[in-house]
């Protein structure tokens, strides 16, 4: 239970980073992002994503456009803004730093 909780906290922390990373590979609409994140087991319920996307958009990191869909109503396609790209880069650097530090610490074995 405790481990599960810690895991979900970690996931939460990197969720924003992952969304931006996914979008850096190309524009996506919400359901695509959900599919990817679910595959990676980063989110459990879809509802988590919508407030995040809206907040990132309002922060100027994302923008969206409407695109007609063959099946059903028009879809909201999200893409990174230039500001978002800059932000993503800084997140990447921070992430790499964390990964390196964490690896260093976890690799040290007491003699």
């Amino acid at each position: 239970m405790l481990a599960e909780n810690a895991q979900s906290q970690m996931r939460k922390g990197v969720l924003e980073f992952c969304i931006l990373s996914l979008l850096s590979n190309g524009d996506m609409y919400a359901s695509d992002i959900i599919q990817e994140l679910k595959k990676a087991q980063l989110i459990v319920v879809e509802g988590t994503l919508y407030p995040l996307l809206t907040r990132q958009k309002n922060a100027g990191l994302l923008c969206y456009r409407w695109e007609e869909s063959t099946q059903g109503p028009p879809r909201k396609y999200y893409s990174l803004t230039s500001e978002g790209k800059l932000y993503l880069n800084s997140l990447r650097i921070a992430w790499n730093e964390i990964v390196i530090t964490v690896e260093q610490i976890t690799k040290i074995k007491p003699q």
Binding site: A30, V45, G47, P73
Partner: protein
Amino acid sequence: MKKTVSINLNGQVFIIDEDAFNELNTYLDSIANRFANTDESAEIISDIEARIAELFLEYISASKQSITIVDVFKVIGILGKPNEFGDESHEQNKQSYNTHDEYNKKRLYRDPDNRIIGGVAAGIAAWMNIDPVIMRVLFVVSFFVFGPLLYFILWIIIPLARTPSQRLEMRGEEVNLNNIERIIREEFQQVKDSLKNLKKKENRRKIEHEFSSIFNGIARVFHLFGKIILGFFVAIFMFVFMIFIGVMTHIIPFDFFTTHCITTAPISNIFHVFISQSSSILLFWGIFLFIGTILLSIIINLLKIITGNYRRWWLINSIFTAITLIGLALIIYSTVKEATHFNISTEIKSRNDIVIQKNDTLKLVISNDQRESTQNQNTLYSINDNGDFSFSFSSNKCHFKKGNLSIYSNPELGFEQSKSDSSYIVISRRANGNNITEATDNCNKINYSFSINKSNIKLASHYSLINTKWRNQKLYATIFIPNGSSIMIERNGSTLANNLKEGQTYTMKNGKLE
């Protein structure tokens, strides 16, 4: 057969079962609640609605054209409840969502479609699932009890069903024991079904959800009992309130502009024995407003709890508080003002000499007042058809006849040894008043008749106060007899001197009658 509703989600039209609609509606409300404090609310909700539309499109096919409650549960399972969104920045907004709290919940609204006056009867009928005509008949029948008042209060309290979803909530599912039992049975069925699919992770959450609904069903039974008990209290308070209003309308002197001391409201005359017209009006209105508003607000608040209306009305609350305080102020003011009439006590003594020969025996006659003998000693209060009535308090008897107040009371009779050789009677009148003048005036208004004719003394058994207020008036009649002189009780028609026997002669010896 199920009733369906058609809804528009992100531009798509869906046919949805009514129960599924209610479920979806509460779900969307809970999301709206969670994001209520943010600017993004509308956008998040429209995104989520778009996603729901997308999922619904997957669920419908040529053979299954309507969205069922199971579909809605699936969607909720996929999208998650708002408290599972795990969004830290909204963590403080802890309005957790439990679908079954709201599930099938029926709320009381006034029905705008079937209204005759305020739609109260129609709304309650929809709530109880009975014909509105029955409700209306009940209201009309109760017209002479507290129907109009109850109707008016309910009219204020129950909100009007404005939106279609509120109208659905209004009709919703019946809240009764059968129904609760049915819901529980349905829930068990759903649990059984989903146990088969236990391996799927998503379903686990759904099972939790359904177990909670069983407890919820039980909780709802208790909830219902609670409401019945509260309803019982409302009836009691309503009854008390009506009695209070009834009594007050008999007491309050509504004829403000009459200058006459006695009002047409008979019971209020009792109070005129003690307090002035102006003070009594203030006092009655004070009591009326103070207790009336308190009772009314108790009734309103109980009904608010029962009907699930938790909105706070600042305006009405403050008006009520103000009226209560005004009532209290009136009570205090009039009481204090009247109390000042008891400020000062004075005593007026008058000495009446009895001129007799030294060895003559005094003859005392205590006359019996007709008014006392006609009145039953045990009745506290009696009234006749003309509105004349009488009542007694402590040793005083008050009579109202043709608008006039008279108070009768017994004087205190005493015998003392005279310091000189002469006999005399001292009549001492006592009364209270606001000041010396008023107190003296009150003393002088004590009517007492007695006569001295040579050795014959005749005392009335009562003194009277005609058209004066009761100001603690007292009258003492003391007969001073020289040592060794005798007094014969010729007639003792009253209880003034019980220890003296009629026809007996008593002699004053060292301050005592023997």
